[in-house]
Amino acid sequence: MNLETIAAKMRHTLCDVSSQTKTPHLGSCLSCVDILATLYWRVLNIDPSMPNASDRDYFLLGKGHAASALYTALAYRGFFDIQALYEHGQTGSQFEEHPGINAPAGVETVSGSLGHALSLAAGMALSTKLQQKENRFYVLMGDGELNEGTVWEAAMFAAGKKLDNLVAIVDFNKLQGTGKSCDIMHLEPLEEKWRAFGWHTIRINGHDLNSLQNAFEQAKQYSQPVCIVADTIKGKGVSFMENDNNWHYRIPKADEVDMAKKELGL
């Protein structure tokens, strides 16, 4: 299965799970599918049969409300059965609406409160360097998440310590919970902002799988942390969801899932 097909299948599953389990944040999930597909199939040193291998790379989801996208990537990558995704948000489920401590192996940290993941990863990356290990750390943040001050505390620290085993990816879909992210806070010029904080910065189309893979490869070449600013579209892949912020919270009906499936070419 090529990566485009995997991404399309993930998008359909996300719509179907959201519809059947009545869980929100579909738009936020759809915008980062290509980033996750690239990471889990082309970049991360991981083995689903040994999810806790000590030499693995770590992926941390900053935007915890996109938990379903992470669970879906892990399921398609073979960490657990795809059918298990339909337990999302149900009583007693490992797949909580925000990843909790009972999440299955493959989910590295708790998430849900924004602005924690980059700090956690900075501590992990620092420890790893002190231990002279080779693990690499990848953190996916939303553009709304960048409102949190801790992101910039972590950014300054990581650059100061030259944590070259740390990569941040900004899922820059231009929308946050209640409006346009660039209207709510002064985000742009985002690339320059990260550069000014001491990071090597790469800006790409976050839905172009080749560009994503190239950016992650390139990120290994620098002796400083790297931020990939990925321009994305909230709701990507389903025309009536794209750039419509209602889909931050809306749950699709069964016929809308069918329409999405057709649009995704499945």
Binding site: V110, S113, S119, G123, L126, S127, L130, T150, E153
Partner: protein
């Protein structure tokens, strides 16, 4: 007490490569001896305490045993949500060190006072709370906290706290330490307020009351065995702390006793529910807070204890 902390950490870090210190740009030369052989494990996290707390949790996930260290309000209240999620919920063995707790920095004003930290930390599942009374208690308890390998809040003083024990006490994490056995009344003190508790104990003796005196260094988990026994043995429990009377050590004692027996009265003494400002010294502030032997005795008389 901060000197004792740095000294003990330096000693332990020589043999234990897992120990890692994050500090938020304070301490000046305090950690120079540690830096001499472990500069890479002596990490100035900058004046960014929220990030520091999460980073420590991250480093713990990778096998380190981290400490985070700064003045108490900045390592408990400023970064509370990071402690809640990354340290407590994810159950990471980070030791949160609040230096200059209570009224240690009285003259620096409410920004540097911490009368809410025990209340905050008490409310977190998985969190342990230890408040040594002096440098000796710190030295004995600190290795036990490292061994514990759980989230821990270590509430310490600043400097020149008087020694409260004549001989080396056999302190054990989680167990109240009886310094003087007594009857009718037991005085339970946690942390650097112990000298006041000793003075109160002395005054009660002068009045013919042979009270018990206890160093209650571990606030969480509370020594329930001691409190159960105390409820049977005493008519009155007096608690002392440099913390708001609401939500701190005294509240913890009161809650336990109330839930399990109504046979004993609990008298809580701490910082009243107001901000303390315009004071020159900790002593000055204690007077303002009513934390003096004479004031406590007056209240106990008023309540019919004496």
């Amino acid at each position: 007490m901060r000197n004792a902390f740095a000294r003990v950490l330096t000693e332990l870090a020589k043999d234990d490569q897992r120990l890692l210190l994050f500090y938020a740009d304070i301490g000046n030369r305090l950690f120079n001896p540690l830096k001499e052989f472990a500069s890479d494990r002596t990490v100035n996290a900058g004046i960014a305490e929220a990030n520091m707390a999460s980073m420590a949790a991250g480093s713990a996930m990778m096998g380190h045993k981290p400490f985070i260290y700064t003045i108490t309000p900045f390592t408990t209240a400023r970064n509370f949500e990071q402690i809640k999620i990354d340290i407590a919920y994810q159950n990471q063995p980070v030791i949160i060190v609040g230096t200059g707790s209570g009224l240690s920095y009285a003259n620096l004003g409410p920004t540097h006072h911490s009368f809410e930290d025990i209340a905050l930390m008490r409310s977190l599942p998985n969190m342990n709370i230890v408040c040594p009374a002096d440098a000796q208690e710190l030295e004995i308890l600190m290795p036990q906290l490292i061994e514990l390998n759980q989230p821990c809040y270590f509430r310490i003083g600043k400097k020149n706290e008087p020694s409260v024990h004549d001989a080396e006490p056999a302190l054990k994490f989680g167990q109240a330490h009886t310094m003087v056995a007594g009857e009718k009344v037991t005085i339970l003190a946690t942390g650097t307020i112990m000298p006041l508790a000793q003075a109160l104990h002395y005054e009660l003796s002068a009045k013919g009351i042979n009270a018990e005196l206890v160093s209650f260094h571990t606030v969480k988990p509370l020594d329930e065995d001691y409190l159960t026994s105390a409820s049977a043995r005493f008519d009155h429990i007096v608690t002392l702390e440099e913390h708001n009377v609401n939500g701190g050590f005294g509240s913890a004692v009161l809650e336990y006793v109330s839930d399990h027996t109504a046979a004993v009265r609990v008298h809580r003494f701490g910082i009243p529910d107001f901000f303390i400002d315009q004071v020159h010294s900790p002593e000055d502030a204690r007077i303002k807070a009513g934390l003096t032997v004479s004031n406590i005795l007056n209240k106990l008389v008023h309540r019919g204890l004496l």
